[in-house]
């Protein structure tokens, strides 16, 4: 398990650049942490690092957004799912995530993975777990395992 301290947007970019080297196709990256801790901010930094041309916005209401990368790496596509509004794990069926994830070169970032436990348990592919917390001084502590 690795731990990082993030104080500003530049440090998010540095962290994202490291994270990107660990991504592989079909990987699921779970993002845990309370409201306003920086989960979407991290996905924005990852998208920049992968050469995504649009700025990811919060997927809370749309549930899922997709971005095409342009950095020529093995990651072609970023799926950004937010399970914040999903109360039952069965809701995940509606997102067609199995099919979406099977598209070559796809990596899936999931916010609030705790709301998708049943689906998560069935996934056997590569996975990274990221947990973000906020310190009293406002800095973010990020752990990755």
């Amino acid at each position: 398990m690795n731990s990082f301290l993030i104080k500003n947007i530049d440090e998010w970019n540095v962290f994202a650049a490291q994270l990107v080297t660990r991504l592989q196709p079909s990987m699921i990256v779970t993002l845990s942490g309370s409201l306003g801790v920086g989960k979407t901010t991290l996905v924005q930094a990852v998208a920049r690092a992968l050469g995504v041309k649009v700025n990811p916005r919060s997927p809370t209401f749309s549930l899922m957004r997709t971005y095409r990368t342009s950095d020529g790496s093995s990651i072609k596509r970023v799926l950004h799912v937010d399970a914040y509004r999903l109360e039952k794990s069965s809701d995940v069926l509606a997102l067609d995530m199995d099919e979406e994830l099977s598209e070559p070169g796809t990596v899936l970032f999931i916010e609030w993975p705790e709301n998708l436990q049943v689906w998560m348990k069935k996934q056997t592919g590569p996975r990274l777990q990221i947990t973000i917390s906020i310190r009293e001084d406002g800095a973010r502590e990020v752990t990755m395992s």
């Binding site: 306003g36 979407t40 700025n55 916005r57 919060s58 809370t60 209401f61 957004r65 809701d91 906020i134």
Partner: protein, 358 residues
């Protein structure tokens, strides 16, 4: 915009009347509407939204809570209600949301619309959900009377925060948008952080009535940057820090103040940027549309600011009935396209979850 790839017919401009069937399934709501349009005369014959109708009581079974599967059950029920025994005989054309939104949800509405177009032979037009919100303002007769281009639209909802310049019917350009959270999301998540139930917008507005909006200094990101993008994600952090700094005993007593301060921060940014954008683009009217436009403080403040700062500019908010997702607005935007002669080939239509309006 991307909507005119296959022009199949060219009718005389605004002469004929259209009875348009509207279908909307881009997010949580399933909605069906029948709208009559002749020139500037508009009548909403049917406006059915699933969350307002006890479908399982009428059609049996349980409506699944999952968006896409719920749309399937609800859409059949709503189409049956709207069309009745005359089926497609009394409809001239179909307008359906084909993006942006959730792919699996959009597909339910689009496939139903394509089937209806195929069997009835009636024209079909795909509508951008955001264009639908813009058209929701036009459903209001008083707004139609003051409808003079160019216009500016502030679209504010749970999933959207956009400033859009409207040169003419169906001609749009993006002026600004949120870089992270939508305004409605800022309301909902701030409400959650201060222990208010969902949906947060109305809860914050209610709590704010008894609060002091200057009690807490919350950030107004990018307020004076001269550009028209928004950012609301930092507000969550500020609300959380403010709330957590209060002792448990203080929280009940100060919640109204924090709600009022939060609402003030969101409304300040929305109003300031909209006025500035309207001024710079020299529009003749400002539309306020989308679910968050139901917020009374936003309506009042924007209306007052337009009156005070923008001479001769009309304030054109949607009627409260049409602020949240509905199909009447989709049918209205569809009618704009149909009157221009735009239509799609049903065989070639597909959903686009990231569809742009520009």
């Amino acid at each position: 915009m991307k909507i005119r790839p296959q022009v199949v017919k060219n009718t005389k401009k605004s002469q004929r009347s259209w009875r348009v069937l509207g279908i909307e399934t881009s997010c949580d709501e399933t909605a069906v509407s029948i709208l009559r349009v002749q020139g500037s005369a508009v009548r909403v014959d049917k406006n059915l939204v699933s969350s307002q109708i006890p479908i399982h009581q009428m059609y049996g079974g349980v409506v699944p809570e999952v968006a896409a599967r719920a749309h399937v059950v609800e859409l059949i029920a709503l189409l049956d209600q709207a069309l009745g025994k005359t089926y497609m005989k009394r409809v001239d054309a179909i307008a359906v949301t084909h993006g942006p939104g959730l792919a699996t949800a959009l597909r339910v509405g689009l496939e139903a619309a394509r089937c209806l177009a195929a069997v009835s032979g009636k024209p079909i037009v795909g509508v951008n959900h955001l264009e639908g919100h813009i058209a929701s303002s036009w459903l209001n007769a008083a707004n139609r009377r003051q409808w003079k281009f160019p216009l500016l639209a502030l679209i504010v909802s749970g999933g959207h925060t956009e400033l859009i310049f409207i040169k003419d019917f169906c001609e749009y350009s993006l002026i600004g948008q949120t870089r992270d959270d939508a305004a409605g999301e800022a309301f909902d998540k701030s409400a959650k952080l201060m222990g208010l139930p969902y949906p947060g917008g109305p809860q914050i507005a209610r709590a704010a009535l008894n609060g002091d909006s200057s009690a807490f200094a919350l950030p107004r990101p990018m307020l004076h940057d001269g550009a028209f993008d928004f950012s609301f994600s930092g507000l969550k952090t500020a609300v959380r820090q403010t709330w957590e700094a209060l002792s448990i005993d203080q929280r009940e007593a100060r919640r109204a103040d924090l709600a009022a301060s939060t609402q003030q921060a969101i409304v300040d940014v929305l109003v300031t940027k909209t006025i500035l954008a309207a001024h710079q683009t020299k529009v003749r009217g400002v539309l306020l549309v989308g679910g968050v436009s139901a917020n009374r403080a936003l309506r009042e403040r924007l209306g007052e600011a337009i009156k005070r700062d923008l001479r001769g500019v009309s304030f054109l908010p949607s009627d409260i009935r049409y602020v949240t997702d509905n199909a009447a607005m989709i049918a209205a935007a569809g009618a704009w396209h149909l009157q221009r002669g735009d239509a799609h080939d049903w065989k070639k239509m597909d959903v686009d979850p990231e569809l742009d309006l520009f």
